[in-house]
């Protein structure tokens, strides 16, 4: 089980957010709020009277205190959704509810929604300290409180000593962290993050993101997070929403999305996947028998009925490599070193099957051209109708 879920076990069904606070809100904080986006439509004017539809019939519900990640390819409309929620963009139709109250007509500055901009948007004339203190100053918070709040927000992003610097004197990653601190400090009803850690190195990113998650939990703030980093999405989120061309493709817990993707697009987007054509031969006791790569395998039966022709999805880590005489015979065609893992492209007949394993310290070193035998962890096979177009 995922660690974060263990502590915040709230999975609201799509259409009726459960109003239970996931964690005890901090003293003095208002209760966490549920967010509900219904049938949102939004397009941009392209000039010449043409409009580019960017978000189409977008539906998403967040339970109070929930942390949901929005994943999707570049240009699919993630930033646009966040900006619309924050009140920075007009939209054509749809409804946005925060704790059942519509905020669609509320001006941005009354929404109490914190947004970390993809381009940081730090105020160039204010020091780092003043940037972070800005929202507190607007609310005329006492100076002592401002100092301590800002100090702790800066500490959370590892910039304790940078208060007096001007934004122009910071590196890209440092600027990004200031932007995060600035949003955290305002204790909003809803936190929106637009790729807030994209310019941080892996180590710092892990550090800042766990700090961020800790703070979000402590404050009980509902959060919507955009990232292009799967690890981040997987490890941070209560649930993940995968977007494609302005629509939601699937919403679900990280494992669900990873193990049982609703579409090939989702499967490919959250990690490498082998999508192999297969044919269903038989079905019995929650198992199906399929033919794939010329052999017969047993796979878990999917919830919904399927046609005969299917795609069998297999993650590379579910493809095991053994000696040339074990399993299906294949030839190693391609090897890519990725640090903790090494990726192998194995040719089986006409098909290239991808497998990964941690090569480190293996007695048996695989080289390009080697003959290997491959096996499958059958219970991880996920079947989809073959009509689903490949991406």
């Amino acid at each position: 089980m995922q660690q974060t879920l263990a502590k915040a076990p709230v999975h609201a069904p799509a259409e009726s957010p459960v109003p239970t606070a996931s964690s005890a809100p901090a003293k003095g904080q208002t209760l966490a709020k549920a967010l509900s986006i219904r049938h949102l439509d939004k397009s941009y004017a392209l000039g010449g009277g043409r409009r580019l539809p960017v978000v189409t019939d977008f539906n998403l519900d967040l339970a109070p205190g929930e942390f949901v990640t929005l994943l999707g390819p570049s240009g699919c409309g993630k930033t646009t959704v966040l900006r619309t929620l924050a009140g920075l963009e007009d939209f054509e139709s749809g409804e946005i509810l925060l704790d059942s109250l519509s905020i669609a007509r509320l001006p941005a500055h009354h929404r109490k929604i914190g947004l970390v901009f993809q381009n940081y948007a730090l105020f160039p004339h204010m020091s780092v300290f003043e940037n972070v203190a800005y929202s507190l100053r607007l609310r005329r918070v006492a100076e002592a409180t401002v100092r301590s709040e800002v100090a702790s927000a800066l500490a959370a992003v590892g910039l304790e000593d940078y208060g007096p610097r001007m934004p122009g004197q910071l590196s890209g990653g440092q600027q990004q962290r200031v932007a995060v601190a600035r949003a955290l400090v305002m204790h909003p009803d809803l936190l929106l993050f637009d790729e807030p850690l994209s310019n941080l190195d892996a180590k710092l990113r892990v550090q800042v993101r766990s700090e961020l998650r800790r703070l979000q939990r402590r404050l009980g703030t509902t959060a919507l997070f955009v990232t292009h980093d799967q690890d981040e999405a997987m490890s941070l989120s209560d649930r993940i929403a995968v977007m494609k061309s302005g629509r939601i493709e699937q919403v679900g817990a990280p494992e669900e999305i990873y193990a049982r993707p609703a579409t090939l697009f989702v499967a490919q987007f959250v990690g490498k996947v082998n999508a192999l054509p297969a044919t269903i031969l038989d079905e019995a006791n929650g198992q199906v028998e399929i033919e794939m790569l010329g052999t017969r395998l047993r796979a878990p039966s999917p919830a919904t009925g399927l046609p005969r022709d299917v795609l069998a999805l297999l993650r590379p880590e579910a493809v095991t490599l053994g000696g040339p005489d074990s399993g299906l015979p294949g030839i190693v065609e391609d090897i890519e070193f990725l640090g903790d893992l090494t990726e192998y492209g194995i040719r089986v007949g006409d098909t290239l099957v991808t497998s990964v394993r941690s090569a480190l310290g293996d007695a048996w070193k695989i080289r390009e051209g080697d003959r290997v035998g491959i096996g499958f962890k059958e219970q991880t096979i996920h079947l989809l109708p073959r009509t689903e177009a490949a991406v």
């Binding site: 947004l115 948007a121 929202s135 609310r139």
Partner: protein, 554 residues
Amino acid sequence: MSAVAPAGMTERAQRRDWTLYWVYPVAAAFVLIFTAYPMIDLLMRAFTADGRLSLALLSETVADPYNRKVFWNTLILGATVAILGTVLATLYAYVIARVAIPGKRVWHFFALLPTISPPILMALALIMLYGRRGLITHDLFGLQTTGLYGFTGLVVAQLISYFPFAYLMMLNLFKGLDASLEEAASTMGANGWRVLRTVSLPLLVPGLAGSMLLMFSYSFADLGNPLLLGGDFPVLSSQIYQTIIGMYDIPKGAALAVLLLIPALMMFFAHKALSARMSFASVGAKGSSRHREVRHGGVRAAGLIFVGFITLVICLQYGTILAGAFTQLFGINYSFTTKHLVAALTKSRGALVDTLLLGLVASFISVMLGLLIAWIVARTRARGQSLLDFTANLPLAIPGTVIGLAFGLAFNGPPLILTGTAAIIVAAFVVRSLPYGIRSGVAALNQINRTLDEASTTMGATSGQTLWRILLPIVQPALLAGMIFSFTRSVTTLSAVIFVVSPHWSLVTPTILSQMDRGDVGEAAALSVIVVVMVLAVIHGVPRLLGGDWREAR
């Protein structure tokens, strides 16, 4: 957010917040009362004959061949000055902002000096230097030329007087450009010139157009130079002046003013359309504003020569005035004296104090008002903002004399009687410098990336708070430039105040004018020197008072 929306605002504006609800009416009221009302009042005179509406006067004016010649003269002069002035200003600003040359503070200082050009005296200095017996043309080069009088002289005089305003505007824009764009271009192989031509200048197009508009308008409205140097090259402003002052014919003067409005209007809308299409926000989001300087030896030398030459021209002007102030009779009797200075300080003390006071008040009001209107224009979608912008900019195109006269006529009777008060003088000052405040405000705001506003808004700031805490500090340099400009303009304007000064509030410029009229060049020069010193003190003192940051602006 609910409540009843005042008329004239879009749905979008309503959803914003209350700031617009007081800013807009305040700005609109000022512009209506002090720009639209007197102008309409005056222009109505061009459209009435025997108390009834009629186009007779106007068509008579247009039909007159002499007027047509004058009209074309005005256009040609305006275009020449606008183009040359913008080129000079852009080059100067570029050299100061981007080329590694020594002594930048000095060059900058001298470039701004002509903004404090005392009326008439600058033209006189020109005559003394480049006239038939000019120290340079005649005594140095042995020429006996009358070339100074007419078109050439006007171009030179207007360039010297007005190029600094365009320079100041361009300098701020150059400084505001996102540095990484220029850097990107140079890594791709563009040398300084190509970077300028392909990246910086295109990004500055709205600014360039603004500067052209400004120069055009100044040329239109300039009266002093055409009167002194115009020779046989009559332009509309002097024609209007002659019609009203010489022939006491206000309706015909108003009709001529209508003529002047046509090109001004066209310029205004052309500029507006252009900047709407071509403004690109760049500052402040992820960009940086640390600009690299061009180090190329040839460029530096050329830059230095260019800047040095302009500075020399300016220095000669002021040197002449300075010499005039401290010699018995410049050009005739060069013995040193301080009697002019003493006379100026004693006899004109009242005028100096009043000018300083009213100028400061007016410059503050006009800058704040200018920023508010700029903000309405650049950052909101309030209905009628275009009209507001246009009306507030009208005085750019109208000779000060006409504005002054309109003021005098309009505020002498009900509903609003201001004759003889300080308020009318301040209002006249403000109305005249407001356009500059708006133009530079709009240009500065357009350079600020909107995500900054948005970030502020999402953190709970009303648009007013965003304006005050984010936009205002960032446009501070432009604002300060505007304030300096407004102050110097107020202190040196002549035409606009001649009909509104009263025995109770005297100003320096009419005093200088009458000293010149009676031939007391020495005293006029001395008073001008005092004015220059006074303005410099304000320019350098006020920023210091307002905090260190402001000094950067210059």
